[in-house]
């Protein structure tokens, strides 16, 4: 059972705002959809790139997923569904995937999408794509007709389509002439409902409605990353406002209509404001604490167990998420397909300093510094690190914080030395499912540096098992293993608060702000 922590008046406020949001969403729309108008969306950082294939950054995805589309993408139930493809035919041996393309789909440059564009785009992804493991099983990409592309796999991969549909660094389809260009040098041309107008770094990215957008009539409405999309707005501007306070003020004054993320205390305050709607995504991400298993003291299992026993997850999560969290031991969200039930529950949120001290003694720990790597860019990381450090100091661990910026932290954690622990919020991986999650913990560069052979074996078993039931069983073993060797500790689940002006209609919170099927009331 997930423990949803609510305390004091805070809880009532959040509850009220959630109710408000769900009423706003669930009620039949009071006004009919109207075309026209412009929306400004605020987000906190620049997109590192608008070349969707080459980056797995959320700041990029927020924007690019309104511009580009993929062959397959996840629907609302996190199952792969066709977007630019009409269907896929998998051969009996599981080695060939023939994608039928939708016909008459126009790029923003006016040209029709054909198999040549798809082949060129996927070839490019193999070279510059940020999640290259996605196409790793593919040996051949062939245009087998003007509207058909066939992928040949070197071996059977039951989870291939799930991986291929991943939005992490999406395998978007761009015109063949753009696909010949190196990373970050393309013109931003896609097939999506909005087309790119301009990007002024540190200021904004502007999109406008693509009048010739080819909606997918096979669906009734938008569905996950795909479905039938309709752009109502004339323009959408993504403004970069790094200061959360400034962004909120801009929303309150009406300069900005949608906030991609809003601080929880502010959401509480604004829940009583009639001009503002609050949206909640819960669970949105998993906050984790990762050990460097190649360096002392994190190379010692007893030490890692001591840390696990010392942690008061509730305190860490309450502070790091400003009160918007749930405690659940499972590595897949409660009630989701792969939820492994009680496995590992007894080792989660122990908060037993005496046990931790005893384990430290067993580990022969003698006050070596334990350097926690974190960054100031993502507030949850830095705050969690501060609270963890205080808790570890309390049981006698010489914890020090090494706070850098995000790129520096990313570099340091790739080294075998120079860090002992690392706070990381995983947003997309737990959403995508077990394979995406476990792939970051196995292979050439697992998050905790040293491979766990047992886990590596289980991962191979996971991705080569055909049935969902079989994979569920394997994942339960994986969860058990994760709690046994304690290379990574799940701290808890956090949510994402978003907010819009009250006249923004049709917005449904999702993994990125979908600006299609959104319209302005009274426009």
């Amino acid at each position: 059972m997930a423990k949803k922590w609510k305390f004091g008046t805070t809880a009532r406020h959040i509850g009220a705002s959630l109710l408000l949001a769900s009423v706003a969403l669930g009620a039949p729309y009071a006004s009919a959809q109207t075309r026209g108008g412009s929306i400004t969306v605020a987000q906190s950082s620049n997109p590192p790139s608008l070349d969707a294939m080459v980056t797995s950054s959320q700041a990029s995805r927020n924007i690019t997923m309104n511009i580009y589309e993929t062959l397959y993408g996840f629907d609302d139930k996190i199952q792969p569904a066709p977007i630019l493809a009409e269907s896929v035919e998998v051969s009996a041996d599981g080695l060939s995937y023939a994608f039928k393309l939708r016909q008459g789909v126009k790029f923003h440059n006016g040209k029709e999408m054909t198999s040549a564009d798809v082949k060129a785009s996927l070839d490019r992804y193999k070279k510059v794509g940020a999640t290259q493991t996605m196409l790793e099983p593919v040996t051949e990409i062939e245009a087998t007709g003007p509207y058909e592309v066939t992928l040949k796999l070197k071996s059977k991969a039951p989870t291939f389509l799930e991986a291929f549909a991943s939005p992490r660094a999406p395998a978007v389809i761009i015109p063949a002439e753009e696909a010949s260009k190196p990373a970050n040098e393309i013109s931003f041309i896609g097939t999506g409902p909005f087309k790119f107008v301009e990007y002024v770094p540190d200021s904004h990215v502007k999109l406008e409605r693509f009048e010739d957008y080819s909606a997918n009539e096979a669906f009734q409405s938008m569905d996950g990353f795909g479905g039938k999309k309709t752009a109502y707005l004339d323009t959408v501007t993504f403004r970069v406002i790094p200061e959360p306070g400034a962004a909120v003020a801009a929303l309150e004054s009406g300069e900005v209509q949608l906030l991609e993320q809003i601080p929880v205390p502010t959401a509480r305050r604004l829940s009583s404001n009639d001009d503002i709607k609050i949206y909640e995504n819960m669970p949105w991400a998993v906050l984790t604490f990762i050990f460097n298993m190649k360096e002392a003291p994190g190379n010692n299992l007893k030490f890692r167990e001591a840390v696990q026993a010392a942690l008061n997850n509730e305190e860490v999560m309450a502070i790091a998420t400003e009160g918007l969290f749930q405690l659940y031991h499972g590595w897949m969200y409660e009630g989701s397909t792969y939820d492994a039930g009680d496995v590992g529950a007894q080792s989660y949120n122990v908060a037993d300093p005496e046990k931790a001290k005893a384990l430290l003694k067993e580990a022969n720990y003698n006050n070596e510094p334990f350097s926690i790597l974190t960054d100031s860019t993502i507030p949850e990381h830095g705050k969690a690190a501060v609270v963890i450090a205080e808790q570890l100091k309390a049981v006698g661990i010489n914890a020090v914080i090494n706070q850098t910026d995000w790129p520096t932290a990313l570099k340091i954690r790739l080294q075998d030395t120079g860090w002992n622990g690392w706070t990381l919020m995983m947003g997309i991986e737990p959403y995508l499912g077990p394979a995406a999650l476990v792939s970051t913990l196995t292979g050439a560069a697992p998050h905790f540096r040293a491979n766990d052979p047992e886990l590596d074996k289980l991962y191979q078993e996971l991705i080569s098992t055909d049935s969902v039931e079989g994979r569920k069983a394997v994942f339960a073993k994986i969860q058990e293993r994760l709690y046994q060797f304690v290379g990574i500790i799940k701290l808890g689940e956090t949510g994402l608060m978003q907010a819009s002006r009250a006249n923004v209609q049709g917005f449904k919170p999702f993994r990125f702000p979908r600006m299609y099927d959104v319209w302005l009331e009274g426009q």
Binding site: V54, S56, P201, A249, A250, D405, A445
Partner: protein
């Protein structure tokens, strides 16, 4: 005069050389990895190595330096890693924001500062004097970015008179530009109001005490005519000298103010580049900002020489 100008320009060369050297060396020791940001957190070491080679980051430092200087002499500051465009283009595109911010702040600081200074000098030792000087001192003591945050809280969020941030180009809307610049420029200017006010006050007092003013007053010229005709002109000369130093402080302060008010200026470009390890932007941004500062100082010297011929001939 020509010799004076030429002399000032030549003396700027070694300064610019030191500036460029410091810019280069500074960045050479910066830890961190730009490739992680470009390729994403989950990229493999091989992918990063490829990017490193493409960008020339794997070359030894002297080689990078030689290449940098060779390009610099041709006016080429290299290519930004992350923006995919020439550094000069990226920096110059943002200069209008930073220059208008610093420029407006300068004008405000001089205008308000001189007004306070004159009032204080004319009503010497009165409450006006003390009040003006207190404001001036407060300006010197309050952190400008904190003042910016207070301004946002009060005037943008509380009263809703101004936007909380963002930049409107002057070409798009003049009123929009003025409105978007008011709070940041005021926050930035406030620190320098004190400098100007104190300077003006003391030189005004100096001038007011001199014989020709006393004579003018004795001859029956009315107070304000005296102030405007004689005292003000003479009091302006020392103010001009601080304009150079102030420009530096304001350009530097703009870095923080831009980040508080989300203005897309050079300062934010540089701060962002530091965080993203975009070496060429950091180098180019520092260099161009410093060069502008040096250039402004030359202009100030020339203006001073023009106002006060003794300086020109003394050198």
């Amino acid at each position: 005069m020509t010799r004076f100008i030429a002399g000032r320009l030549i003396s700027a060369l070694p300064v610019l050389f030191v500036v460029s050297l410091v810019s280069f060396l500074l960045i050479a020791v910066v830890p961190g990895d730009v490739t992680a940001e470009i390729a994403g957190a989950d990229s493999t070491e091989a992918q990063r190595q490829l990017i490193r080679e493409q960008l020339g980051l794997d070359r030894p430092l002297p080689e990078q330096a030689v290449r940098w200087y060779a390009n610099l002499l041709q006016g080429d500051l290299g290519q930004s890693y992350l923006l995919n465009r020439p550094v000069t283009e990226a920096v110059f595109e943002r200069l209008p924001v930073t220059l208008s911010l610093a420029g407006i702040a300068l004008v405000l600081a001089v205008a308000i500062g001189m007004l306070l200074g004159i009032l204080a000098a004319v009503r010497h030792n009165s409450w006006v004097d003390q009040g003006s000087m207190s404001v001036a001192l407060l300006g010197l003591s309050v952190p400008d970015f904190w003042l910016g945050l207070i301004f946002i809280t009060v005037f943008a969020v509380g009263l809703g008179w101004f936007p909380t941030g963002g930049y409107v180009p002057i070409a798009e809307s003049f009123t929009g530009w003025v409105v978007s610049m008011t709070l940041p420029a005021l926050a930035l200017a406030f620190t320098q109001v004190g400098v100007v006010a104190r300077m003006t006050r003391s030189s005004m007092l100096d001038v007011l005490g001199q014989d020709f003013i006393r004579t003018a007053r004795a001859k029956g010229m009315r107070g304000y005519t005296v102030i405007l005709k004689h005292a003000l002109l003479n009091a302006m000369v020392p103010v001009v000298t601080v304009v150079g130093v102030m420009t530096g402080v304001l350009l530097g302060g703009a870095v923080v103010i831009e980040s508080v008010f989300s203005l897309p200026g050079v300062g934010r470009l540089i701060i962002g580049a530091i965080q993203r390890r975009d070496y060429p932007i950091i180098q180019g941004g520092l260099l161009i900002t410093a060069a502008i500062f040096v250039f402004v100082n030359i202009l100030v010297d020339l203006a001073y020489g023009w106002l006060d011929p003794r300086v020109r001939h003394g050198r």
